[in-house]
């Protein structure tokens, strides 16, 4: 114990390193005074730790989470994405519970091609009945936007999952096996890269055109997933290339673990950081593509709606009823850049080395 009482030189050696209270020594101005009580406390702390109380380790994920929370833009993105997701999932149910009407309900008393502006009652007075107005068939736009959000977010998430599944297994296999197999597999990716993917999706969607609106959405999931795995495969392959020569892989091999198990149980979890980041950044890209396809009329078919198809409907009346474009458009833009902020934040949090200091 380092006893720093200001005492006469030589006395410190003699005094026991205990908690004996000495008669108050003379302090000089500015001395830091340690009272015996402080030592008692400090000793107790040391002892509890030495007794082997489990010290909560700080895991990688907790560290990353802490870093993410420090990033204001990322937190903003997280909140916005959370609120919009929650509203899209729960909103249509709440509306149905409250009013008994579904989002695609077309009121009979409204003449077609007439839209009520936001925050206005049909008679022109102020009203919360339609906070975003109605579309040109008299349907409440808020309900439509929320319903569209369901589809848009689902397309984003499901297609990203499809691309994750394909990209991770493909990239990990190519990277791990290496050599000629890797060469062949990655050249195939290069070839697919060079094809204009929008054209592929359009061809896929029009060849396998589904009869039902729901079938069309599922087709959209698959088509978008199938074209967006390429970059994922490259990222995962790169990661695996650097991981497969690490000693823990050799150690796993030396214990007789089979190759598929080494790839998927030992290596793939180690690539999770970059994969999560890239997946978060894929969601907005896929959603944008979906909006684009719906805008062209290849995507979501009525009566289902997505933000893209709502924007298409809106753009036809942009001169007269601008809110029909503005609300779905702004909601989508807000979601997309929130997702981008979140993705950037995740990258900084999960991979601190690449962060600009």
């Amino acid at each position: 114990m380092n006893d720093e009482r200001p005492t006469v030189p030589g006395e410190t050696e003699q005094s026991e390193p205990g908690l004996r209270v000495d008669p108050a020594p003379e302090y000089r101005h500015g001395d830091i005074i340690h009272t015996p009580q402080e030592y008692v406390l400090a000793d107790a702390d040391v002892l509890t730790v030495e007794r082997g109380d489990v010290i909560a380790g700080s895991s990688l994920w907790r560290d990353a989470w802490r870093r993410l929370l420090k990033n204001r833009l990322a937190v903003f993105g997280l909140i916005v994405v959370g609120v919009i997701t929650l509203a899209s999932v729960l909103g249509p149910f709440i509306i149905k519970k409250a009013t008994g009407l579904t989002p695609d309900f077309i009121p009979s008393d409204v003449s077609l091609l007439r839209s009520i502006p936001p925050l206005t009652a049909p008679d022109g007075s102020f009203s919360w009945t339609h906070p975003m107005g109605t579309d040109n068939q008299g349907r409440d736009l808020l309900a439509r936007v929320l319903q569209g959000g369901q589809i848009s977010l689902m397309v984003g998430i499901v297609s990203t999952l499809v691309s994750l599944l394909i990209g991770v297994s493909y990239g990990a296999t190519a990277g791990y096996l290496g050599g000629r197999v890797d060469n062949l597999m990655m050249r195939a990716v290069d070839v697919l890269y060079s094809l204009p993917y929008i054209v592929i999706v359009i061809v896929l969607l029009s060849v396998f055109r589904s009869q039902t609106a729901r079938g069309q959405v599922i087709l959209l999931f698959i088509a978008l997933g199938c074209v967006s795995w390429l970059t994922m495969a490259r990222i995962v392959r790169g990661q695996v290339l650097s991981l497969k020569n690490q000693e823990f892989v050799l150690a796993a091999k030396a214990t007789g673990v089979s190759t598929p198990r080494i790839i998927f149980r030992h290596i793939v979890p180690n690539t999770l950081g970059p994969v999560i980041v890239y997946a978060t950044l894929t969601i907005p890209t896929v959603m944008l593509t979906e909006a684009f396809l719906s805008f062209l009329g290849f995507g979501v078919q009525p009566p289902l709606a997505s933000w893209g198809s709502l924007a298409t409907d809106g753009i036809q009346n942009i001169g007269i009823f601008p809110w029909q474009l503005i609300f779905p458009g702004v909601t989508m833009a807000l979601t997309l850049f929130s997702l981008n902020f979140l993705g950037d934040g995740l990258r900084d949090a999960l991979d601190p080395q690449t962060r600009k200091l």
Binding site: G57, F248, K253, A254, V257, R265, P269, N270
Partner: protein
């Protein structure tokens, strides 16, 4: 079980080459040795002398390509490992031959709990179910001296210190009670006190289980107290092979003598420590004669011209040198003089 004169492992004329852009590298070139059940074999040599490649060849973990085992036989308990197919070798790895690696910091998977890494092996080889494997994992951690194994078993590798991780590695290696344990520089990355603990642990466990051990190291002090036999490797070849005590007392090869001289002796005030002049040779471009000739104090014309013979000095003592007998006698005199 076939007996093979009590030999658990017999390596005969093993050649492992690597194809590199620099040409063919003969990492291991004609290595032969035997290991009896329950014995410890030490392999020493400088970096790049082929120690690790020899061991990786034994359990067929040479990355192919660029590596390939050109010729040789590796008889493990009577069966030639080189003739087995991949799945048969996998059944041997971890079950009958286990390996400990140099760097405990990188040889555990950072994303898996210790428990899962230990359980994986026994589930795979011993057919344990989850709870059996879990209990076995805890038992193994207790065996290797990790305190509070029951709480520690669910930790991640980063929550352990280097020495503790090497203990976990040993637990992983020994959890199927292998017949052969290959320890590839198990203490190089650890500090001296931990080194002693780990070596003591390997020794104790070896005594308890009767496992044969191959101990690879470049630290002569480590092998001195651990091994029954010693191989000295240089440039992919065995330069000297002898029982440990005999090799230390009466080395029959200039390279071994030089190695022994370069170990600091705390009893003697030496001043500057002896070092072997020059650098280990580029294994891709070996000279025609003895690969050690350019650095050897005893080298003569013949050494640069002709590859030396593998001379038998006593029953179990071999040396690769043109002047093996002479060096052997010199060492004997030097020992007597001391």
């Amino acid at each position: 079980m076939s007996n093979n004169n009590g030999n658990l492992l017999e390596v005969k004329n093993l050649r492992t080459y690597f194809d590199t852009e620099d040409g063919e590298v003969k990492a291991v070139d004609g290595v032969s040795f035997q290991l009896k059940r329950g014995e410890t074999l030490g392999i020493v040599g400088e970096s790049g002398s082929g120690k690790s490649v020899t061991n990786l060849s034994i359990i067929r973990l040479i990355p192919e390509p660029p590596g390939r085992i050109v010729s040789g036989e590796i008889l493990f308990d009577g069966t030639d490992i080189l003739s087995l197919n991949e799945s048969a070798v996998r059944k041997i790895r971890g079950r009958r031959v286990a390996m400990i690696f140099q760097d405990p910091m990188t040889s555990l998977n950072p994303f898996m709990k210790i428990s899962r890494q230990l359980m994986e092996i026994t589930q795979l080889h011993l057919g344990h179910n989850k709870s059996e494997a879990y209990e076995h994992a805890i038992k193994m951690l207790e065996t290797v001296g990790i305190p509070e194994a029951r709480t520690r078993v669910d930790n991640y590798p980063h929550e352990f210190s280097g020495g503790m991780r090497q203990r976990v590695m040993i637990a992983m290696a020994l959890c199927c009670e292998p017949e052969l344990l290959i320890a590839d520089e198990p203490t190089t990355a650890l500090d001296v006190t931990i080194q002693a603990q780990i070596l003591e642990l390997i020794k104790t466990l070896k005594r308890a289980t009767g496992t044969s051990v191959i101990l690879v190291t470049h630290d002569l002090g480590v092998v001195a107290g651990m091994s029954d036999h010693l191989l000295v490797m240089y440039a992919g070849k065995i330069f000297e092979q002898a029982p440990t005590a005999e090799l230390f007392a009466q080395p029959g090869n200039p390279y071994t003598k030089a190695l022994l001289r370069s170990v600091p002796d705390p009893l003697k005030e030496q001043g500057e420590l002896y070092q072997i002049p020059g650098l280990p040779p580029d294994v891709a471009h070996l000279p025609a004669g003895c690969p050690f000739a350019p650095r050897c104090y005893r080298a003569e014309e013949i050494c640069r011209r002709e590859f030396p013979p593998f001379v038998q000095l006593t029953a179990e003592h071999f040396s690769l040198c043109h002047f093996a007998q002479e060096v052997f006698q010199d060492s004997a005199k030097a020992t007597e003089a001391m």
